[in-house]
């Protein structure tokens, strides 16, 4: 208890203006470090029914492809212990629908958008980037573009792009060249090369790395002897994977390659704080939105209250402050 109070005694940031929650990840500036994860929050419009989603540091959109995509056969959802398997298969109505339909809606609500995109190959990433480039006043409308590199590289037998650092460098580099907005590389936890992939992303010019995407998982329905998911394999998310995500975030953040957006199983402000302390410059909240519709608001408030009660006036003081 006494320890808690003295943790920051040597460097308390006193300020008349209350608590600073804003963070910077490379060129990306966020009002606070809480970001909604891709694929779990639409573009933030639906959740505006539950709270003002403009309070979030940013909303990462679902991942958009060049053309609309059907996705995988149902069932696509399977509940597991403290987690959920999904095999949505990246269903989306295409980048043009985002630009014409979804972006204006989000804009109107003042939602800060991180646009997530993916392609089947480098050319498709480029094509999407060129379409994004045509958005008027793009820098005001889009905080960053996130490249979902955990999706299958069709040309390379379906392995994730992020499995091959060379591909990461090439795709990131190409999109960075086309766009004049910051680029984030989202990596897969299913390969054991996150550090190499992050280094490649930096070489390509990315401003930050998002980890982790879902972990490959599966379930069997013992009533029917069928896989729980139509696609057999799916992605596991939720608190079950939090320890795995934290280990990856910590291991990558201490390499100081790029700022890390940490995600995987965050359910409350305490979880978010764990990621920040472990070295994440910002955090993503995904699955929690399905269960606690106002999680984003709660987590931001929880972090603010925590800092206030500890007399820490700047959230950057806790980032990476793990005592090992």
């Amino acid at each position: 208890m006494t320890e808690q109070k003295s943790l920051f005694s040597d460097e308390i940031t006193r300020s008349g203006n209350g608590i600073n929650l804003s963070v910077k990840l490379g060129k990306i500036k966020l009002d606070n470090p809480v970001i909604a994860c891709s694929g779990t929050f639409g573009c933030g419009v639906e959740y505006n029914n539950f709270y003002n989603t403009a309070v979030l540091g940013a909303v990462t959109t679902k991942s958009y492809s060049l053309e609309p995509m059907e996705g995988n056969p149902p069932p696509r959802i399977y509940e597991t212990a403290a987690g959920v398997l999904n095999s949505i298969g990246l269903q989306n109505d295409g980048i043009d629908a985002f630009i014409k339909k979804h972006l204006p809606g989000a804009e109107k609500l003042g939602i800060k958008i991180i646009l997530s995109i993916f392609g089947q190959d480098l050319r498709e990433f480029d094509k999407i980037a060129y379409r994004i480039l045509k958005i008027e006043d793009i820098r005001e409308k889009i905080t960053a573009v996130e490249l979902n590199l955990s999706c299958p590289n069709i040309k390379k037998g379906g392995m994730a792009f992020s499995a091959v650092p060379g591909e990461v460098r090439e795709i990131v580099g190409s999109v960075v060249n086309i766009l004049n907005i910051p680029v984030i590389a989202k990596l897969s936890p299913n390969q054991d090369n996150i550090i190499e992939a992050a280094a490649a992303a930096r070489e390509g010019g990315a401003q930050a790395v998002s980890i982790i995407n879902t972990v490959v998982g599966m379930a069997v329905d013992i009533k029917t002897f069928r896989p729980g998911l139509g696609n057999i394999l799916g992605g596991l998310s939720g608190p079950a994977i939090k320890p795995i995500a934290l280990a990856k975030v910590y291991s990558l953040a201490r390499e100081k390659i790029l700022p890390v957006i940490g995600m995987g199983g965050i359910f409350n402000w305490e979880d978010a704080l764990e990621f920040l302390v472990a070295g994440a410059g910002a955090v993503g909240i995904g699955t929690v939105n399905f269960i606690q519709y106002d999680a984003g608001k709660r987590i931001i408030e929880g972090l603010r209250n925590y800092l206030e009660s500890r007399k820490i006036y700047d959230i950057n003081e806790v980032i990476g402050r793990i005592r090992t």
């Binding site: 694929g39 059907e70 509940e79 597991t80 987690g83 269903q91 399905f290 269960i291």
Partner: protein, 264 residues
């Protein structure tokens, strides 16, 4: 749609493995329309077990008292939790969710076909339809007489109905689809709303393949978000000629045109 917390006014055994929970919620009572559902947190605050919310049809609304109710079958972990809640406890739910069923524009007669717990969303439709339609008829089929108590609630709606049970313990012995088959003529000019097990829906799809009735079916699929953002709850819906598109039960449904549903 809103995230809500409503006081539980009662949570009673309604039949074998069957419960009805009544929840105080002016917001739901004023805003929910026929065909909509709520997404319920079925664990204590802060608990992760069971993990996901569970969707439940709005069974009934009593505007006068600002009370809506859910009829639920005790099946697994989520409904076990529900069944342990007591009067005075708070229910954490979001709603109303789903696309409302538009009763105003349609025909003058309504036939409701329910199988088992599938009567739940139809009951609210019956209550609303009875005020604006000429004829409302409820055909319901069950395994046994576990839902017997429902007859009283049904009678209060002042509509005509027929009950079929597989074991003959209540109403007539047989399947509800047999009843429909035998009374095709009677219901020729009815708009139909149906909800029940997959087999029942498939049979009805066959029966009404070349009929001109407007047949709307309530579908179920496992949900994650319940609000249309995750793409988890899709079903196959015919698109134009031979193709299909995946549509979301939570946002595009739960009611779909039965003729367009592709079962696997």
């Amino acid at each position: 749609m809103k995230l809500l917390s409503g006081e539980i006014l009662s949570n009673e055994r309604y039949g074998d493995n069957l419960y009805r929970i009544e929840v105080f919620s002016p917001y739901i009572c004023n805003n929910a329309q026929a065909g909509q559902f709520v997404n319920v947190k079925c664990s204590y605050d802060g608990s992760l077990d069971p993990f996901l919310r569970r969707p439940f049809a709005i069974f009934d609304i009593e505007k006068k008292f600002n009370v809506f109710s859910i009829l639920y079958l005790l099946r697994g972990r989520g409904t076990r939790f529900l069944s342990l809640l007591e009067q005075g406890d708070m229910l954490d739910f979001a709603g109303p969710l789903g696309k409302p069923v538009d009763l105003t524009g349609a025909g003058a007669n309504v036939l409701l076909i329910g199988g088992g717990i599938g009567i739940a969303p139809l009951h609210l439709i019956a209550r609303i339809a009875v005020r604006i339609k000429n004829n409302v008829f409820f055909a319901a089929g069950f395994k046994d007489n576990a839902f017997l108590r429902w007859e009283k609630d049904l009678i209060r709606l002042k509509i005509n109905y027929a009950v079929m049970t597989e074991d003959g313990s209540w109403g007539e012995k047989g399947l509800v689809s047999d009843y429909i088959w035998e009374n095709l003529k009677t219901f020729e000019n009815y708009d139909i709303y149906c909800c029940g097990p997959c087999d029942m829906l498939k049979t009805l799809q066959n029966i009404y393949k070349n009929k001109k009735n407007k047949v709307t079916a309530f579908l179920e699929e496992k949900m994650a978000c319940g609000v249309g953002v995750c793409g988890g709850c899709v079903v196959r819906i015919k698109k134009g000629g031979k193709g299909f598109s995946y549509q979301k039960v939570c946002e595009d449904g739960p009611a779909f045109n039965l003729g367009e549903v592709l079962f696997d």
